[in-house]
Symmetry: C2
Subunit: 304 residues, 2 copies
């Protein structure tokens, strides 16, 4: 971590997760000047601890000119909505209807950019990760839940809410018995069948204890391959970047690629078929995509 900011503009970034808030101050070149990880407890405690981080560090490294936040959700992204900038109804206890943007605008008096956590991570992969130079791609996280940030022609897509690709409906795998879904809404969506939470529901000992040669990994790679086929047929992206805790099982990616090729059966651009090894790729290993993306978001809203 560098110690000097010189006289360049400084930016703040927050990766706001359900477990921890990762706060950083960096200069425009991307050098991290200060960082602090704050556990996600109550909104009041957590948000004030974040504000304290910025106040304390600004005293030594200088004032930030903008803040970018990638947040867990669902969040309100419609700038015309009264609740813009808040976390909406969420299973995360105590956090429903928490106003995030308003809090930090008041506390830090800077422009604030606000995005989904997956969009911020996608922006991070685009800025400094495996999607550099690739302006049409999908970043998918397969963790406790499944979600995606989608960049098309250099822009993150949003629509009336934001993509919820984890809730795409797919077929049950015939070997996946008994039928279990971790999704309270859908018996057969990708998240309900293939997320980390779904896998853990299938094994009392937890999915971490399950060996690589267990049939569950054939089932899991099938579900994720179906997801990748459907993302290909909808967004026609240049690349699909797979991240999140479940993808840390190293044997999974080659199995997903193989099943993807079998299922799509040649019906896609050659870059996705012959080029599958560059098409279905792992997210950057640093784990910094979220904060790097938040800083990129900050840059986009600062008053220059």
């Amino acid at each position: 971590m560098a110690n000097i900011s010189g006289n360049t503009t400084l930016l703040g970034g927050i990766e706001a997760g359900g477990t921890k808030f990762n706060c950083v101050i960096a200069n425009c070149a991307g050098d991290m000047l200060a960082q602090r990880v704050i556990p996600t407890t109550t909104p009041e405690q957590t948000l004030n601890a974040c504000a304290d981080f910025f106040h304390e560090n600004q005293a030594s490294v200088g004032k930030i000119s903008a803040l970018g936040i990638g947040s867990f959700g669902p969040i309100e992204l419609d700038k015309r909505a009264p609740a813009y900038g808040s976390i909406k109804k969420t299973p995360k206890k105590g956090w429903s209807n928490t106003q995030i943007v308003g809090f930090f605008k008041d506390a830090l008096d800077v422009p604030v950019a606000f995005e989904t956590d997956v969009n911020a991570a996608a922006m991070g992969e685009f800025t400094a990760g495996v999607a550099q130079g690739c302006d049409s791609f999908v970043y998918v996280t397969i963790g406790t839940g499944i979600g995606a940030g989608v960049m098309i022609d250099g822009k993150l897509i949003q629509g009336i809410a934001h993509p919820e690709v984890g809730h795409m409906l797919i077929a049950h795998h015939p070997l996946d018995e008994p039928k279990i879904s971790s999704c309270p809404f859908h018996a057969s969506c990708v998240e309900g069948l293939a997320s980390g939470a779904a896998l853990n529901l299938r094994f009392a000992e937890g999915i971490h204890e399950v060996r690589d040669n267990h049939v569950i990994w054939d089932i899991e790679s099938h579900y994720l391959a179906v997801l990748c086929v459907n993302l290909t047929q909808t967004y026609s992206p240049r690349k699909i970047v797979l991240g999140g805790g479940v993808m840390q099982r190293e044997h999974l990616l080659p199995k997903i690629r193989k099943e993807f090729l079998r299922l799509i059966n040649g019906y896609a651009h050659e870059l996705a078929i012959e080029g599958v090894d560059d098409y279905l790729v792992l997210a950057s290993a640093s784990g910094l995509s979220g904060v790097i993306g938040a800083l990129a978001l900050a840059k986009s809203v600062r008053n220059s």
Copy 2:
């Protein structure tokens, strides 16, 4: 059809389908000054007949300043590719590797805009149909095949090829036996299960003869509802516009809406749930979306 152009700029449009090419000349206000429907036979015959239409009518109404084409496919849309502007490998006999854009640039000496037929139809719905003023929506055609044009923030999305949402993989309906797919690539994609071709494969007498109370319509509306759920979870659009021959069965749309609400089970923006009657809608009845969209495309490339 109006007979005078005045001194305004004229535009040409072609809806290039597998059965017919619909050619028009219009002024910038959208008044159609000349129109001719040309059957799709061989590329040489069809394309020359189109060129003749423009030459003959330009002599009376005036020269067009640009041409827009919405074409059946698959087509090459990558402007950096040598085959840009051509129909790629297609089941339509004799049409594989036909250069469309080059032909009309040579024949008419004007800038040519080239898009998929569904993108042109989407543009038509946006310009003068049910999606006016709605800059994020999906236009789906359920005809012989199933395809979609997708507008996000006012721009048609493309990616490395173009969306092929008909080839999204979905679950077989348990009552849809024996298992039949009209898609040569996939045993269980939307097009293979729910297109007009798929329906016709199930009935020797043709789907037109099948009554509204047959169970096939429950199955069909289920498949199309799954498609609508998955389009909702990927694109998060403001509206889904359903067109094509299959949607002319009037009892289908209410069934799709009902099944969509059951399947998505509340997990979407209220505009898609409470507002479902404005969210899942039929395409404009005029059948002119394709040529109106082609004219809008022409407008976007003319030298002003």
